[in-house]
């Protein structure tokens, strides 16, 4: 077989590979400087740091899988709420105007800055939604002691979308926009802005746990 074809098929797990590597789950390598340590169980709240570069090697879990699942479900609720409710209501001499995230993105698109609209839509809506849905997809079966179909691609996607989800920056952006506009019209904050506030906290709590814990939990289960 052609080397390239074999490489692609092996990557998809369709052909057996030569066992070129052996797993060492008892070790941990620092992601930022490559120092190796013997893994040990951390107590809840305990943080292990690399002795050489002081990067975080791991955290003791404050939340078990079902706790993380609860956080993700809560995130979904406030995410939906934040997206259907008004962020603010403006009053300019009796003329009212309500604003949602979607309207802002839509009017940015209409005014000719389609790429900016896509960028804002992806980082404030698309990626945060993907983070929440992927977490639910992976954690729901895991809490029941099962490994979901497509666990590996879902976890890889999760790692990527987490990086580009910017709910907290969006929340702060709304605050700056409200202050900027206060001289022009009177502004009443809506349910949307509070929902995004809660969502920021829930996502931060979720992300603090990291993904390595989920990998370890899942690798104890049969595939």
């Amino acid at each position: 077989m052609q080397a390239v074809t074999r490489r692609v098929l092996a990557g998809l797990g369709l052909v057996d590979r030569q066992p070129a590597v052996n797993a060492h789950p008892e070790l941990v390598a620092c992601e930022e400087c490559d120092a190796v340590y013997v893994r040990r169980l951390l107590e809840a709240g305990e943080v292990a740091r690399c002795a050489r570069c002081s990067a975080v090697l791991g955290r003791g879990h404050l939340l078990a899988v079902d706790g993380q699942l609860a956080l993700s479900s809560g995130s979904l609720v406030v995410f939906v709420l934040g997206n259907v409710s008004d962020i603010v209501t403006l009053d300019l001499r009796g003329v009212h105007s309500q604003v949602t995230l979607w309207e802002s993105i839509w009017y940015t698109w209409l005014s000719g800055q389609e790429v900016v609209a896509l960028l804002a839509g992806a980082t404030a809506f698309g990626f945060p939604l993907a983070v929440i849905l992927l977490r639910l997809y992976v954690l729901t079966p895991l809490a029941a002691g099962k490994r979901v179909r497509g666990f590996v691609p879902a976890m890889r996607a999760l790692r990527w979308v987490t990086r580009w989800s910017m709910v907290e920056v969006f929340l702060f952006g709304t605050l700056v926009a409200i202050v900027k506009i206060a001289g022009l019209a009177s502004v009443v904050p809506g349910v949307g802005i509070f929902s995004f506030g809660v969502l920021t906290l829930l996502l931060a709590a979720n992300q603090a746990a990291g993904l390595h814990g989920i990998w370890q939990q899942a690798s104890k289960l049969p595939p």
Partner: protein, 207 residues
């Protein structure tokens, strides 16, 4: 002497964190747990970092000179606003605290990020052992604060959505915003392409 994965013939997975031992020569070893390609360092890390950085520097100029938004109102007429102009405006209207935050997010962070990544890439290329712990901290700070520069993009998008009073007052996004968004995305790509393990060249020494 710190034992490193490379020196023990081990590879740490960049995706799931599992440590593997290379037992047979393979041209393309993959993580046994998640299937992610294993390498001692990210391939072409410095080339990719440099390329993204150069693109960010090129876009930095239009991002700061072109207007990021235009306001039109019955009283003040049509006005264009640059990033710096918006900060000065916030300062004059008495919101010095917000002006400071927007200054940090929109002006200071992108400049410091470009400068810091240039320093990191340059010292990594020279396999320098100068202030390794400090450089490692610098990289971690960059990764944490990087996406906050997106602040101004969200502010303008929200203002466009909020200020829609027809002839009375309206806000339109400007071409500078696109360039600015480009700078933020490119610097984020530059810092994610940089492999912090390059700060610690092999063989590891005892210092």
């Amino acid at each position: 002497m710190v034992p490193t994965a490379v020196s023990r013939g081990l590879l740490g997975c960049e995706c799931c964190g599992l440590v593997s031992e290379v037992v047979a020569a393979a041209d393309y070893p993959r993580c046994p747990r998640c299937g992610f390609a294993l390498h001692t360092r990210k391939p072409q890390s410095l080339q990719r970092t440099t390329a993204y950085l150069l693109a960010a520097v090129v876009l930095y100029l239009p991002a700061n000179t072109l207007p990021i938004m235009a306001t039109a109102s019955a009283i003040a007429g049509r006005e264009s606003h640059t990033i710096l102009g918006g900060i000065i405006e916030l300062w004059h209207t008495g919101s010095w605290d917000l002006a400071l935050i927007v200054f940090i997010a929109s002006i200071a962070v992108p400049i410091l990020k470009i400068a810091a990544l240039t320093l990191l890439a340059f010292t990594a290329r020279r396999k320098s052992r100068w202030r390794q712990a400090e450089r490692a901290t610098l990289y971690r700070v960059l990764e944490t604060v990087g996406h906050w520069s997106m602040l101004d993009v969200f502010v303008v998008v929200l203002l466009v959505g909020m200020v829609r009073f027809g002839a009375f007052a309206s806000v339109e996004p400007g071409a500078g915003l696109l360039a600015f968004g480009g700078v933020v995305v490119l610097t984020m790509l530059a810092s994610s392409s940089f492999d912090p393990r390059l700060i610690w060249p092999e063989p590891a020494t005892d210092d």
